[in-house]
């Protein structure tokens, strides 16, 4: 699932993210390093696995 970062809790390595439809979910970001609001993340079972790069 692709989610967009809204808010970041750097210390706990968590991010509040949203789907395109506006559903919100807390996501573990420990596996991909620091994230910023607006980043698009590939999330599986509540954990971000990769940051998505815009297609060339």
């Amino acid at each position: 699932m692709t989610l967009t970062v809204l808010r970041v809790d750097e210390e706990r390595e968590l991010a509040l993210c949203t789907t395109e439809e506006g559903e919100k979910e807390t996501v573990e970001t420990a596996l991909i390093g620091p994230v910023q609001p607006g980043d698009a993340l590939l999330v599986h079972a509540g954990t971000a696995l990769q940051r998505l790069e815009a297609p060339a």
Binding site: T2, E25, H44, A45, L49
Partner: protein, 371 residues
Amino acid sequence: MRFVDEFRDAELGKVLAGEILSLVEPGRHYKVMEVCGGHTHSIYKYGIDDLLPADVELVHGPGCPVCVIPMGRVDDGIAIAKTEGVTFTCFGDMMRVPGSEGSLLDAKAQGADIRMVYSPLDALRMAKRNPDRDVVFFAIGFETTAPSTALTLKRARAEGVPNFFCMCNHVTIVPPLRALLDSPDLRLDGFIGPGHVSTVVGARPFEFIPADYGRPVVISGFEPLDVLQSIQMILRQLAEGRCEVENQYKRVVPYEGNLRALEVMAEVFELRPHFEWRGLGFISQSALKLSDAYAELDAERRYEVPGVRVADPKACQCGEVLKGVIKPWECKVFGTACTPERPIGTCMVSPEGACAAYYNYGRYAREREVV
């Protein structure tokens, strides 16, 4: 929608379908396996097989996490769920998977405290809010989901949550692929590689397929253009006499995977000597268990479980579907005794299961005219 709309362009789809057609060698029949259940779902949802020439056949592989859980493990989970003082948590799909005497949903209806969660982190939160209950998370999935479980177990330990436990059923993708390639009853020309597993493990673990078995692999995204382009890349390799691992899903999958995820998994899990896969039997070193360092969080060490192997119902042909030997609709009970509402086999449970995907999206289109 970002990262979605641009991969659903119908005009580009027609171009790719034309290129696939031009790459087909006359008189040759191609069998391409999509390993991942997510691809199976996309193929039926978007009618991708309808865009392919008749001589390009898609074979559905074993990569649906729910589908490969054997009945005995469901029975073990139910035994833990029925233990006094336990709140048992699992993903929604898992609740409907049949065990020998019903599903987790049936056990819930009989009074067991079984809750659906979206992530292991949800289960951990539940444990923190209910310190007087043991909260057990029934972990399933391939390398895509295993890092999430591993991180949650690390977090449970770091935060000193004493009542959170995990029954680990995570499996790994390479051993069943090797088993399928060694199987004499299946001749495959190439593989659509699992995109999301590859975000974690990278492309390297699949290099044995071209090296040892001479079959191309293209790691693929899940949108319709991703899947079509991956099929085109496989056919191009075959036409040009090449055989290698290619990465169509570069916007997400780095060749080396996610090293941090691999480190966390290596810390928390270790390989089981063998594990039973529904329909595929026992496969060596194909699943994960909690390492000794995390023994105190291991539900299988905390509770008595039957640990009994249970044969699938005779009418169920999920094993042959999972190996790609038969198509979903060739199963004797497909769409009659076995439906998504009342599944007999696991392939009819999850949206990623080949039978459920075909039932939901393709069952009225089978007798279509070949154009």
